[in-house]
Amino acid sequence: MVQGFGQIIVQALSLGSLYAILAIGFSLIFGSTRVLNLAHGSFVILAAYIAYFIERYYSVGFIASSIVSSILSLIFLPVLEFIGSRTSTHKESFSLILTFGVALVLQSFYSAMFSSDYRILYSNSTIYNLTKLGLSISSIQLTIILSSLFTIIFLFVMFRKTMTGKALRATIHNDEAALLSGIPVKQMRLLAIGLGCFATGLAGSLYVRVSYVHPAGDIEITLIALLITLFAGRGKIRRVLINAWLFALIETIVSYWCGAKWRELLSSLFIIIVLMGRGEEILNNSSGK
């Protein structure tokens, strides 16, 4: 049983890291522009399709394809900046509908471009067996865990140590005050959206190795990102990873011991209880006004 438990932790870690990487881009964009981007899943899917076709037809490795899809994901920057600059005067609900429209358009576009087939990337992953502990971990799982850790640490260090990062944090916290203290808010917002798009691209190229992509598969990704981001609170990058791990751990453990059919029930109860416990705190740091 102990052996089984170790493997569960490994699975939960890799699942949680996937959740985190899906949520980082969403979280950065929500933090800096207050856009609740319902087209986030569609953006991830485009990056996933790009990575898929590059690797299938040019047989390049993960690093090359993830860089290409991350860079190409920057095409969403103007769209988000466009919506974001408009949203600041009209609250989140407005951005919800606009991005919902974008998601619908992209969905049609994908099924016309890429057909409605399900796609998944099977690279020859090596499986490392730790025989003493009875654990096994595949190279894809390792890649996901490391990429999300690396991304979070990178962002964390940038936010804490560099001047740009501090300015960015100030912008996220209170953009009017930041503007008054001489921070170029507009550039900062652009930077944050750019980072968000980049992370989205990375997420796409990882996602297609673990799960399938499909033109209508955007909503699940958006929901995971929304869930983790709201659970962490606005502008809390570190918490994104921790909460994603925690959430995945709960899901995996419940599925193992209680049966998968109770998974959603217990994870929702968990979220509600945690939210009730720290309701006030969240109220203050993710205020919608």
Partner: protein
């Protein structure tokens, strides 16, 4: 509304110009999920139907079939609205298509109310025909999947420790129920049962349990995308059980995505370019050729379901015309009821509930990238 009337008038006018004297036009409506979650298989059904109608229009010059296609977006209320429109506005004499019972059910209700025959392409649940609707017919049935699985398990594989995983959808529930009942008398020991929501991103808890229970055979009533993840994680977690997926495995796209990792998996199909019923070789190869030419992809079992359901209507309309009756929906329904034809999927005839009398799927194994029949052998 006025626009579409004018549009259809123009279409009818143009057709009238081209047509020979005395050509009659028969409108048929097709409702399928062309967008949304079920789009992949919905489009396959739709393409099968289109091919059948196009072929029929080429074959016979003085009977023109006008196919009106609609999308239900994988939503029951949209399926209902579109059925209503096709019947009352477009005045179709028959409806065809439909994928999954939640979308077929509402269409069947509307069709029954308006006394328009509806031949469903892919519908499984027994409950759908519990209350008899004389205008509802379908060419597939859950028993055609459940019975082969049960006999295959009992007679061929005889697994010692079986695991059953199924999606939380009505069709998968009924299938798992039937399998559970069917194997209960034998010596097969069902050690693990798991219900999962389709689209679950992670199957490792289930697979770890399979490992813990030493499962040697998994029956997985999940869908194509779920198999993609499940099979992948089986390899990663070193679960060595045999794997049978009644839905979703026996598709060329599945093999295309999985590559050589699909080797040895068991799936089910009613037809494939290489597996078809006796006496239908010519029709089968013609379908394969025309389908690949027309749509640029290899035809699947699902596309064949669409093709045959449309064929049933075409065949019945022709018999109505031959008998000298007007092509009216109530008359057409009577002729559909008396259908008895040989198709690549086997003999097609309906019982008093509208269920197919002879529907049965074949269990296949993926060997060297193609499907090989494993059960029934003869």
């Amino acid at each position: 509304m006025g626009k579409s009337v004018i549009f259809s008038l123009i279409v009818i006018f143009l057709i009238g110009q081209v047509a020979f004297c005395g050509q009659s036009i028969v409108s048929i409506g097709a409702i399928n999920p062309l967008t949304g979650k079920l789009a992949q298989h919905g489009i396959e059904v739709d393409q099968g139907i289109r091919l059948a109608i196009e072929e029929a229009n080429l074959e016979e010059k003085n009977l023109y079939f006008n196919l009106i296609r609609r999308d239900d977006k994988s939503l029951p209320e949209d399926a209902m609205n579109q059925a209503q429109q096709l019947i009352t506005r477009e005045k179709v004499v028959a409806l065809v298509g439909g994928y999954v019972d939640t979308l077929v059910g509402p269409i069947a209700t509307v069709a029954g109310k308006h006394r328009v025959p509806y031949v469903a392409s892919a519908s499984l649940e027994s409950r759908l025909t519990e209350t008899i609707n004389p205008f509802f017919f379908r060419i597939s049935h859950i028993n055609g999947i459940a019975h082969p699985i049960i006999y295959f398990l009992k007679e061929e594989v005889k697994p010692k420790r079986l695991a059953l995983v199924y999606a939380s959808t009505p069709g998968a529930m009924e299938l798992s129920e039937k399998i559970r009942k069917g194997i209960s008398e034998g010596s097969i020991f069902l050690v693990l049962e798991e219900k999962l929501r389709p689209g679950t991103p992670d199957f490792s808890p289930f697979l770890l349990k399979c490992r813990a229970y030493n499962v040697d055979f998994i029956v997985s009533a999940m869908f194509l995308p779920d198999h993609l993840i499940l099979v992948k994680q089986m390899k990663e977690l070193n679960v060595l059980a045999k794997y049978l997926g009644p839905w979703g495995i026996a598709y060329p796209t599945f093999i295309k995505e999985m590559g050589e990792r699909a080797e040895g998996l068991l799936g089910m199909l009613a037809w494939s370019p290489t597996i078809f019923q006796r006496d239908s070789e010519e029709e089968s190869s013609r379908f394969t050729k025309n389908y690949s030419q027309r749509f640029g992809t290899e035809p699947t079992s699902t596309a064949m379901h669409g093709y045959i359901s449309a064929k049933v209507i075409i065949d019945s309309v022709r018999r109505v015309v031959k008998s000298g009756h007007p092509v009216r929906s109530d008359i057409l329904a009577d002729f559909i009821r008396n259908t008895d034809m040989i198709s690549p999927m086997g003999r097609i005839a309906f019982d008093e509930k509208g269920d197919p009398k002879y529907y049965s799927q074949t269990i296949v194994q993926i060997q060297k990238g193609s499907f090989v029949k494993v059960y029934p052998i003869k």
